[in-house]
């Protein structure tokens, strides 16, 4: 038994025409820090395309590695969702495919330093009949419009990963 990992890099994200996080970069003291800037007031979304190589069973885990623009308190409401299509078996038009119901996670800023790195871990429980070899679209969204989201500036997604069991 092992876990399979799919990296969801900011540089590889795709977006719809509106309401998407801006790709940006801090020039750090010693290295650049790139990421997707999720707005504090809107519900911005980014998308990745992966294949469910060797998927076995269970809920995939979505890890969102993030930092604040400069806030040191508040909550960020993250949301993860997947859409899975089995090639040759599903007759679904891929351009009209819907996501399974999203799972949300409220991650609280741990304080002290605005740009400290946090992890929000979401167990994706709505699997959209996920099977090994499926073409899978992953959506990561910040629900900035929700009252539970109280962090008062951009949340930077530095990287994300989806992991699942192969058995």
């Amino acid at each position: 038994m092992a876990n399979v990992r799919a990296d969801l890099e900011p540089e590889a994200a795709q977006f719809l025409a509106t309401v998407f996080p801006q790709y940006d970069r801090f020039n750090g003291t010693n290295f650049p820090v790139s990421g997707l800037r999720y707005d504090a007031a809107a519900d911005e979304a980014a998308f990745w395309k992966i294949d469910a190589f060797n998927y076995g069973s269970g809920n995939p885990t979505l890890d969102i590695i993030w930092q604040a623009e400069n806030a040191t308190s508040g909550v960020v409401r993250w949301e993860g969702a997947i859409a899975a299509i089995t090639p040759d078996a599903d007759s679904q038009d891929v351009t009209t495919k819907a996501f399974a119901t999203a799972t949300t996670f409220d991650d609280t800023h741990l304080g002290t330093t605005g740009k400290r790195v946090h992890t929000a871990q979401i167990a994706i429980s709505n699997l959209d009949s996920l099977a090994t070899g499926d073409a899978v679209w992953v959506r990561i969204r910040r629900i900035g419009s929700n009252g539970a989201d109280t962090m008062a500036n951009d949340a930077w997604l530095l990287q994300a990963r989806l992991t699942y069991s192969d058995t």
Partner: protein, 87 residues
């Protein structure tokens, strides 16, 4: 007249987007309340501000001109108004 609820929300949202100052210990509910309080304060004190303006500016200037003047001075005080003379 104070800003509408929508205008206050959009002020709050844009403030969060363009702000480049630390928001240590400040959350969105704190900011929402501060936007409302600032708008209320302007409403309450606009007559006082107008009376403080010297003549002939007070009588000759339009309301938008007076409002913008207030904003320019405040922006300069906050270090956010760059003048050509600053180089």
């Amino acid at each position: 007249m104070t800003l509408s609820a929508q205008d206050r929300f959009r002020t709050f949202a844009q403030f969060m987007r363009t702000l480049n100052l630390p928001l240590t210990g400040i959350t969105k509910p704190d900011l929402v309340a501060a936007v409302a309080a600032t708008d209320d304060w302007i409403e309450t004190n606009q007559t006082s501000f107008n009376n403080a303006l010297p003549l002939p500016f007070r009588t000759a200037a339009s309301l938008p001109l007076k409002t913008l003047l207030f904003c320019y001075v405040a922006m300069r005080r906050a270090g956010r108004l760059h003048a050509d003379e600053d180089g």
